[in-house]
Each structure stands twice: as C-alpha cells, then as structure tokens.
C-alpha cells in the first residue's frame, strides 16, 4: 500500500506546479459555480461533502497512515462542535438556553475562526491525554479503547446539563459555515495530510504500521509519531465538528453516535486507507449516493409505480456496499495510492497523435 | 504414492516454489533438504492443501488433489507434523493425541495407537495429563509426532523435527523415525540437519530458492559435495 513516489524529476518549475495549479483552479471554478449559480440544496450538499472530506482525510491520517484504527473519532467531532458553539453562541441566547454556564463562558462570544481554532486545539488536547495511554495497545484493543472513549464522551455530553443542555437540542448556533470557509479548511486538510503522507515522517509511520515488530524495536519514536498524528487528526476532526455545528445550527449528543462514526469509516475504507485522493473520491461517492438513497427513502414515483418510503434502507445499502468492498477490494478504490496529476497529464500528452514519441 | 509435478507456488509476488517435481513411493523415506527459505515448508503446506499451487499438480495415488481441502487430505492419510511443533499448549498430552485422532471412528484402534505412541515415547505416557505448554522442547516434538501418528498416516510429513533440540534428543527422534520407517510408514522428511536426514533417507531432494537443484538416492547425496554449496551459496539469498 505504498504510494508511488514519482521518480526524482529535473523538470521545470512550471511542470511541477502544473498539478497543484490545475487542482486549485478546478476547485476555484467549482466553488464559484456553487456559490453563485447553484441553488440552496446543491450548496448544502457541497458543504456537507467538504466537511466529510475533512473528517475522512483527517481520519486517514490516523487510521490509514499510522494504523491506529480509531473508532471513536466522532468524539473529537463532538468536542469540536460543542466547544466552538459554546464560544460563538450570542450572549443573550446563552443566558436563556444555558443559564448555568460558568461566568466567563456565559459572557463571551467569539468570532467564528478563533472559536473554531480553540475547539480544534481542545480536541487535540483531549486526544493527547487519551492517546498517551492508548498508543501502546495493539490492534483491536486500540480500536475498542477508542470506542470506549466515544462512549465516555457521549455520557458526558448527555449528563453535563449545565454546559451541553444534556440530551436536549443545542440550538441557535450562528450559521457561519459557507461553501468557502468549509472548502478552505478542506483544502488545507487535504494539503497537510497529503504532504505528511509524502514526507519522511509519513513514510516512517507507514513502515511502522506495516511491520509492528520492527516498530516495537524502534521504540519511543514510533509511539511519539503515532501520538502526534493522532492529535493532528483530532484537531482537524474538531475543526470539522465546529464547521458542521455552524452549518446545521442545532444538534444534540445523538448526532455523534456510533452510526455517524460508521459512515465516516465507510467512506474511508471505500476510498482506501492511506490514500488521500481515495478519501476524497470516497467521500464524494458516498455522500452523493446516500443523498440519492435518502431521497429514495421518502418514496418516489417510478412511472406508474409508487415505491413506498423505506426508512433505514440507505443505511442497509451502505452496509452491504461496505461488505462488498471489504470482500472484493479490501484496499479500497484507490488501493492506497494517490492520483498523480502529472502522470495523467503525461498520458494525455502521449495519447495526442503526432506529439512526441511514445 | 505422492507426486508433485512442476508445482509453482507464490505468496503474492514472491515465488516460493518454481517447477518443483518430487516423488515419494510407498514405504520410502524421502528427505527434502535446503536452507532457510528454500521452500521446504511451502512444499509441505501445498501437499496438505493449506496453500494452493498456481501451476502444476499434486497427485496422490494418481488422483489430483487440486480440489481437496486440508480436511479431505488428512482423511486420505497425508498427515503433516508441522514446523515448530505447534502442539496445543492449553490441552493436555492426552487431549493433543485425541485431536490427532479426531477424524477416526474406531475407538479400539485409537486406543491401540495411543498405547503405541506411549511405547515409542514413554515420557509422554508419564506426563499424559499435563498441559502441552509445560512440556520441554523435546517432549513437545515427541508429542507432535505422536499426535501425527494418531491420525493413522499413510504418508507422514515431518517438518524439521530436530529443530532446536539438543543432540541427544535429536538422536532419540531419529531413532523413532528409523523405527517408523522400518514399520513401513512412508515418510517425507524436511530437515536442515543434512547428516542425520541422509543417514535414514532412501532418496532425497535439495531445494534452493524454490527449485529442485539436486536429487538422488541417499547414498548419492551423501557423497555429493554440492550440497554444502547449496546451503552456503544460497543462505543469504534465502533470507526474504
């Protein structure tokens, strides 16, 4: 599952920038189109895709690159969502909905970016505390421990009434998330994780993931790099949580359930562990597919036939799809490798008749 | 009795066996020699049906074993005593032996064989209720062989029975191997201990990085200096 690192190339700066430039240009066009031309519904989908990209790509940093298969990352998303919302909620609303907040928290209302950053850092801090104990565990034990972490978070969310409103809806979060800021964060996430993947740091992590015995003999440095990756991914997940909270405006602890965790993991696995481009593709595919299925769930007309609503059908189909991928293509769509834009361009150039020798 | 014809086996991209052809006739003791990583264990695992060949066939009494599961192959009497003993540590000696005979329905035959195993390896009889994990290395090897014998083997495959044992135990093990051979049990013996193996073998094959590079009768191979070459020159290569 090693990403193909392209051979050392002496090509000019222009061709090296070609890849990223094209991608950024495409993204820019895409965002402009969705902002100005697309309707509300499409914009919502674009935002959701963006948030999912952050969630899945940051999860890939932990699960795919280091092999620390976290099942409880949704807990960090929850921390991000609640923390940021508590910071951005207008003071007047806090007085009404959360009268028992500690003084300083009740009096402050921060702008979106600082709140998001703080939320992300908080998630990273929690990850540090939790992760320090978990990093030494092996395989399945780590996964279940992270699940335990998620349960702990859920219990705290449901019971810490004064701060979270318990099981009740946390509403009134100012809708700061737009197509732009979500996708700026998404691009940042993709870039950061992709760069890590190609760095020496990333290669070390991946070789540690593939050969635990060798890794154990390397000792402390492996644990530390895993912890670092875990915290970074928690930060990004926390940011995603904040973005999501400010998109959806109201949520409750139920939004951070295990089912959520599973959807994220599904997108990750289908795209392929260890591949950033795979994650992006996986996210787009699954998000679009589940939207279509969700519409279908409400029942629709197929010519003269009326298909009745089948709630939960989309979940079942997701689960079946997931199993199929695991059985037939366990490495995911991209097989752990990345899309190489330069390679694609080269192939296009070669295929053009008359231009250059094969 | 058993014939491998041009068998190719690979694990993913790694070729473990390439065009290997081996024959074991009724009543023979055939030695399969070679350095670490030469493919000897892979050959046994292929015969046992745990690993499937990519090309070539494994014929038993003329019948192709391609579709047979490990369960079927054991039922045919091809019993492997695997490398590293792999006895069931949490089970007692008796229970281990019972597992060797798990396929059999003839309780009196099973009991007879069990007594025979205890006569071959008296120490097992003394420790019959002890758990496998508490046995010494040599005793575990004896138990592994005994367990294989309980399966009523027509062809007994032993994978490195002398591995990690003190010389005096190696002698004891080979004494038993000789006795089994004398009784007419057909044996395919994988060994790194060339001297001992060739001392008991009727014929032998030498594997190196997945290919058969030498074959001959025990006598021929004993006097063949190339064997040392095979071990020395391929040893570094063999470390995959």
């Amino acid at each position: 599952m090693e990403p193909r690192t392209p051979p050392v190339d002496q090509s000019s700066l222009r061709s090296r920038l070609a890849g990223p430039a094209i991608l950024i240009a495409l993204l820019g066009v895409f965002l402009l189109v969705s902002h100005f031309l697309a309707g509300d519904y499409i914009q919502r989908i674009v935002i959701i895709i963006g948030i999912n990209v952050i969630l899945v790509v940051s999860l890939n940093l932990s699960n795919g690159f280091t092999g620390v298969f976290s099942l409880g990352h949704v807990g960090f998303m929850a921390i991000g969502a609640y923390a940021a919302s508590l910071l951005t909620l207008p003071v007047s609303l806090k007085a009404v909905n959360l009268p028992d907040l500690p003084g300083w928290l009740g009096a402050v209302a921060l702008p979106f970016l600082p709140a998001t950053l703080i939320a992300g850092l908080l998630a990273a801090l929690v990850a540090f505390l939790v992760g320090s104990s978990l990093m030494r565990l092996k395989g399945a034990y780590i996964s279940v421990a992270t699940l335990g972490f998620l349960v702990i978070v859920q219990v705290i969310l449901v019971n810490w009434d004064q701060v979270t409103r318990g099981a009740r809806t946390f509403a009134g979060v100012p809708p700061h998330s737009t197509v732009w800021n979500v996708w700026i964060w998404a691009s940042l996430t993709i870039f950061v994780v992709w760069r890590i993947g190609r760095s020496a740091f990333g290669r070390d992590m991946r070789s540690a993931r593939d050969n635990e015995i060798a890794a154990l003999s390397l000792g402390v440095s492996v644990l530390r790099s895993r912890l670092l990756a875990f915290c970074m991914s928690a930060f990004l997940t926390g940011v995603a949580g904040s973005l999501w909270a400010h998109f959806i405006s109201s949520f409750s602890p139920k939004s951070f359930s295990f089912t959520q965790a599973f959807s994220i993991i599904t997108m990750l696995v289908i795209g392929g562990l260890g591949s950033v481009s795979g994650s992006v593709i996986g996210v787009v595919l699954i998000t679009v597919l589940s939207e279509l299925l969700r519409n279908a769930e409400r029942g629709f007309e197929l010519g003269a036939l009326h298909i009745p609503p089948i709630y939960g059908a989309s979940q079942i189909l997701m689960a079946v799809l997931f199993v199929l991928v695991i059985v037939f293509r366990p490495a995911g769509l991209m097989g752990g490798r990345e899309i190489n834009v330069r390679e694609i361009l080269r192939r296009i150039a070669r295929a053009r008749p008359g231009k250059g020798a094969a | 009795m058993l014939k491998l014809e041009s068998v190719d086996v690979s694990y993913g991209h790694v070729d473990a066996l390439r065009g290997v052809s081996i024959e074991v006739r009724d009543g023979e003791l055939v030695a399969l020699l070679g350095a670490n990583g030469a493919g000897k264990t892979t050959a046994l695992m292929t015969i046992s049906g745990v690993v499937r060949p990519r090309a070539g066939s494994v014929l038993y009494d003329g019948v192709d074993l391609a579709k047979a599961s490990p369960f079927d192959i054991v039922a045919l009497g091809l019993i492997q005593c695997p490398e590293g003993r792999r006895i069931f540590g949490g089970l007692s000696v008796l229970e281990n032996l019972k597992m060797g005979a798990v396929r059999r329905a003839d309780t009196s035959g099973v009991r007879r064989d069990r007594d025979w195993v205890f006569s071959l390896f008296p120490v097992l009889g003394q420790r019959r209720n002890q758990s496998g994990a508490t046995l010494s290395g040599g005793e575990q090897q004896m138990l592994a062989i005994g367990r294989a014998l309980m399966a009523e083997p027509r062809l007994l495959m032993l994978d490195e029975p002398s591995l990690g044992l003190a010389p005096i135990l190696v002698q004891a093990i080979f004494r038993v191997i000789r006795e089994l051979h004398g009784r007419g049990v057909t044996i395919l013996l994988v060994e790194q201990n060339v001297r001992q193996a060739l001392a008991v073998a009727d014929r032998g094959y030498v594997l190196s990085t997945g290919r058969v590079i030498l074959e001959g009768t025990g006598a021929e191979l004993r006097s063949n200096s190339e064997i040392e070459q095979a071990y020395l020159s391929t040893a570094p290569e063999a470390k995959r």
Partner: protein
Amino acid sequence: MSALELLLQQLINAVSIGSLYALMAIGLAMVFGILRLINFAHGDLIMVGSYVALLLMTLGLPFFAAAAAGVAASTLAGLAMERIAYRPLRGAHEISMLLTSFSVTIFLENLAIILFRPTSRAFPAPAFLRSVIHMGQLRLASLDLIAIAIAAVLLLALTLFVRRTNIGIAMRAASQDLLAARLMGINVNRVIATAFAIGSLMAGVVGLLWSARVGKIDPLMGFNPVLKAFVASVIGGLGSLPGAVIGAYVLGGLEILLQGLLPSALTPYRDAFVFAILIALLLFRPNGILGSSEKEKI
C-alpha cells in the same frame, strides 16, 4: 436494613448483572479465540431473539414456547451471520473483520427499524420473572436469582462440553492454533459453526432475561450489552473463556460498586467511569487479567 443485608443485596445484584455479561462475553470470546473476530453483531442477536419472542407472545403463544422460539431464532441468526458474512472473510485482516461485523450490526439494526419501527415496545415478562422474594429485610428480585441460576447451569454445561466432548476439545484446539487444527483434520468449518451456535444461543437467553429486566425492547438494544460484554472480555483477556467469565463478574461488580460509591451527582456518569477504568487497566495489563498469550510469529 443492616449493612450486611445491603451488601448482600448489592452482591446479588452484581452477580446477576455479571451473569448476563458472562453469557454474552463467552459468545464473543469463543468466536474471537478461533477467528480473531470481534463480532459486534453479537449484540443484535439479543434483539433478534427478543423480537421473535415478543411477536409470538403477541400472537398468543405462552411464554415458554415464545422464549424457546426466540432463543432458536437467535441461534439461527448467529449461524446465518457466520455463513454469509464471516466465512468469505476467513483469514482477512483483523480490522476488516471488525468493520464487517459493524456492517452486519448496521444491517440488522436497520432491518429491525424498517420492520418494527425505531420506538421501543413493551416486553410483557411473565409474573414469575417479575416477582420479589422477601427474606427477612431482603428484597430479592426473582429475575436476579433466575439469571444467576441459568448462567450457572449454562456455564457448567459449557465447561463440560469443552472438556469432555471431541468437538469441544477441538474448539479449544482451534482457538490455540488454527493452522495446526486444520492440519490435524479438525473440521474447522464445523467447529466455527458450533462456536457461533453456542454463543448465539447464550445471547438469545441473555436477550430474554435482559428484556424482562428492562421491560422493553427496541432495535438498538443490543449495542450497549455487546459493548459491555466486550469490555468484560478485554478485562479478562480477549480469547480466554475463563477470562471472559471472570471479566464479566468483575465488570458487574465494578458497576454496582460505582453505583453505590459515586456521589449522586456523578452516578449518571457511571458508564464513563467504567470505560475510563477499562482504559486504565489496559495501560497496565494490555492483555487483560488472564491475557491470552499472543505469540508473535517472527
């Protein structure tokens, strides 16, 4: 009520809960031991059995018949699960199998939601399961005593099974060294199916007792118990049958202990504390109390 009587009452409480966890954990441990698979869908077997029993009772069947059918349904569901979802994945990576078991969970839960709607339904347990026995100052729930008794019987039966019968010994052998078991001609498919059958049967029994205890059932009822069962297994050491049982009773005791010791403001956080303690335990004993020796094959 004197301190001793209070202690006794809580002890029975703990043993009763522990018994339910033990029956669940054993099912998980058996499958994990042989396949290295953490079957999270095990929890949904509780749900399947309970719904089948409820349906039959609604149709007029007496409790015992409905209960037997429920247990049978759980067992069949478990066997189906093994055949359809897990057998094709034999030998796959640990994580793949774990994730597949989650897919099965999602599948079953949503199927139940589609068939039965997500809201919970009342489970009409018969009187003998809901009565209270008075012994002096003690008020003992008949359900607790029955749960303890049933667990004791089943655990004893299982112990005899794995020690005396060939297939039981084969199960132990397979969980220690699956490859060697195959080489001995042990019918691994049958052994695995048996492990699933026994575990699922026990899950079915737990389902009925659990439903009677809680008084209602819903499609997602299996998630919490399987998580607890898993914690119990991990405490005792994944893959070890005695470990699973010990871990289960430790967990039951821990829960009751925390319930009693935590100040009332913190009791809702009890589960959080349990998991925190689990994580702490794994720090010191990464393989659990009786940790199975996972030999690294170098």
